[in-house]
């Protein structure tokens, strides 16, 4: 087990370093000048000479005049100390911005993952048990639809439907903790994104287990159907569903980028969106790295947990 863990880590860490390198290279290669953008707010207040000097001072302050490898090593050094830099728009500490907003998004994401599982596993089960009937097609086709319909399409459409057409809720805005009714719609929208992956995986797994000898034996013993499903099928079918966790994590992160501003949730995704809209490099880099860490970690955990769930998988 120890060797296996080390091996998985040996794959995960270089992947992360490569992500760092890509992120950094992309932002450095771009001659887009954040300082010039910053200067637009002082437009007209500085004369040309002072302006040049101020720009040069700011460039030095951010170390933008150094060579690529100097900047990269300095950046890595700062990262190790937990310094993600200071945002260009608003001069705020990027790590603080992320640390402050991350717990909110994490709670929302966790709730979304729970809803996805609670909805996805029974739906996948039903689809498999009623294979090739209209119910199967409806479940698979219906959830497939949400696979690519993005959050920024779904959210306004559902808002219009629930608030304006059906008039059954007030506009859900803001964040007062997880156990509030205004959280229902955002969590539901988040959960719909990764739902089809869970449904399909469950359906395929149940179909496979269904043809196993022990299920046939249980049937022949005269066991009731629900007992067979709970005791024999689900137990074995749920193992492969664990592998979808990586997809779920990615779906939740991307979903929150759009969700946060629509529902005025002060979350991680909102920070990312503002970063992109403002070409705020330190923020964009911080957000990309944290997302990559989350996904790499999730996949690592899946890899490490899987042998315990399925002893047939040999630990090398």
């Amino acid at each position: 087990m120890f060797v296996y863990t080390i091996k998985r880590l040996a794959v995960a860490i270089p992947t992360f370093i490569a992500v760092l390198l890509i992120t950094f290279t992309l932002t450095v290669l771009s001659p887009f000048d954040p300082v010039a953008m910053m200067m637009t707010q002082f437009e007209g207040t500085l004369d040309t000479l002072a302006r040049e000097e101020v720009i040069e001072r700011i460039r030095d302050q951010y170390g933008l005049n150094d060579s690529y490898w100097v900047q990269f090593s300095r950046w890595i050094g700062r990262l190790v100390q937990g310094d993600l830099g200071i945002s260009i728009n608003g001069q705020r500490d990027v790590l603080r911005m992320i640390v402050k907003t991350f717990p909110i998004s994490f709670q929302l994401g966790l709730a979304g993952a729970v809803v996805t599982t609670i909805l996805g596993i029974p739906l996948g089960c039903i689809a498999a048990l009623r294979q090739n009937t209209w119910l199967d097609y409806t479940i698979v086709g219906g959830t497939l639809g949400f696979r690519t319909v993005p959050v920024f399409v779904l959210a306004p459409l559902l808002l219009v439907l629930f608030v304006l057409v059906l008039d059954i809720m007030r506009v859900p805005r803001g964040w007062d903790g997880l156990f509030q009714s205004k959280v229902i719609l955002p969590v539901f929208i988040l959960a719909l994104g990764p739902l089809p992956v869970v449904v399909r995986q469950t359906r395929a797994a149940v179909l496979e287990v269904f043809s196993m000898d022990y299920v046939r034996t249980a049937k022949m013993k005269g066991l009731e159907m629900w007992r067979i499903i709970l005791r024999h099928i689900l137990r074995n079918a749920l193992i492969p569903v664990v592998t979808t966790l990586g997809f779920i994590a990615e779906g939740l992160i991307v979903g929150s980028i759009f969700l946060d501003s629509i529902f005025a949730i002060p979350g991680f995704g909102g920070v990312a969106e503002a970063g992109f809209r403002g070409f705020d490099y330190p923020v964009i880099m911080g957000v990309t790295m944290v997302s990559a860490i989350m996904i790499i970690l999730t996949n690592l955990i899946v890899d490490l947990v899987y042998p315990f769930l399925d002893p047939r998988i040999k630990i090398e």
């Binding site: 459409l157 759009f258 957000v287 990309t288 997302s291």
Partner: protein
């Protein structure tokens, strides 16, 4: 006596074979089309896709107004006979803009799919034929690209290459004076292509590599090898036709996801810039007013939702049609 019975059985065998070959004239493709048209959802998907393509090709001729034309007497009006889907916050005809948006989305999807298929096939072939080391290296690169959420990476690339691309075009214009480079609107599209292609190719590379590895074990490939057919010929004559089914299915799905990614980038203000029409930036510029001008958000949003749904249904139908063995057991 015994001889005649043998001829009879030979005769009947021949007849049987002839009957079989008559059956086989129903080719794989004809069969696939039949299966596709029998599936109701995929027919709906096909119709929606055709509508999209017609809208993208002939949109500018169908559209009653230009995408920038403002009707300042009718700003933010509900749908009416003059403006079928209403007008937006600065008086532009929504129906026309949705049609122009279809053109943007289709253009991006076609180019992105095209570029990423080429990269994916090349990388996949290197992984499949280049030996274990090449396979390992390409595999690691794919893992790295896939460990960052596609949208974030595409956005990061688009943000980073935007300025260099614009300066590059300006330089070309300065030296050559070529009128094409004076207009920078299409550069936005170029930036989007680049970002999207970079995040979409790993899917194809994995698919092609998998196909090469699994088909290589097939007996007909082994048979071809043993009679001395060259690797290249095997790849073109045997591998390619057998791998084309899964590739077409993946093409369909990635077509719709490229559209969604383009809209997402444009929604974030990175992709296609206003006044160019993209469903993403149309949603973005009106999302704040959804509660009192709902149609301005609902029209582009519904269009995007219906189109992606339709293409996905088509992809699902193609999957069943081109993979007769799977028979929906996924």
């Amino acid at each position: 006596m015994s001889e005649s019975s043998e001829t009879v059985s030979n005769e009947s065998l021949r007849e049987e074979l002839a009957g079989e070959s008559a059956l086989q004239t129903r080719s794989l493709w004809k069969d696939a089309v039949g299966r596709l048209l029998r599936n109701r959802l995929s027919v709906i998907g096909l119709i929606i896709t055709l509508f999209l393509l017609v809208g993208a090709l002939f949109g500018p001729y169908i559209a009653p107004y230009s995408y920038t034309e403002q009707d300042l007497l009718n700003v933010a009006k509900m749908p009416s006979p003059d403006h079928w889907l209403g007008t937006d916050e600065i008086g532009r005809d929504l129906f026309s803009r949705v049609l122009w948006g279809a053109r943007t989305a289709t253009l991006v999807a076609i180019f992105t799919t095209f570029i990423s298929v080429i990269i994916g096939v090349v990388v996949g072939a290197i992984a499949g034929y280049g030996g274990p080391l090449a396979d390992n290296i390409t595999g690691r690169i794919i893992d790295i690209v896939m460990s960052v959420p596609g949208l974030l990476l595409a956005a990061l690339i688009a943000v980073s290459i935007k300025e260099p691309v614009v300066t590059w075009a300006e330089n070309i214009y300065d030296t050559t004076g070529f009128p094409l480079f004076a207009d920078t609107t299409w550069l936005d599209l170029l930036v989007v292509f680049g970002g999207l292609a970079f995040v979409s190719w790993p899917g194809y590379a994995r698919l092609i590599r998998g196909q090469i590895f699994s088909l290589r074990e097939e007996q007909y490939i082994e048979a071809a090898k043993s009679v001395g057919v060259s690797e290249l010929k095997i790849a073109l004559r045997h591998l390619l036709p057998n791998a084309i089914g899964p590739v077409i299915v993946t093409l369909t799905f990635s077509f719709s996801s490229a559209m969604v990614l383009e809209s997402s980038l444009s929604y974030l203000g990175i992709g296609v810039q206003p006044p160019q029409a993209s469903w993403g930036n149309m949603i973005a510029s009106n999302i704040g007013s959804w509660s009192y001008r709902p149609w301005l958000v609902a029209v582009p949003a519904l269009t995007l939702a219906i189109v992606t749904l339709g293409i996905n249904f088509l992809g699902d139908g193609l999957n069943d049609a081109l993979n007769p063995r799977s028979k929906r057991s996924i």
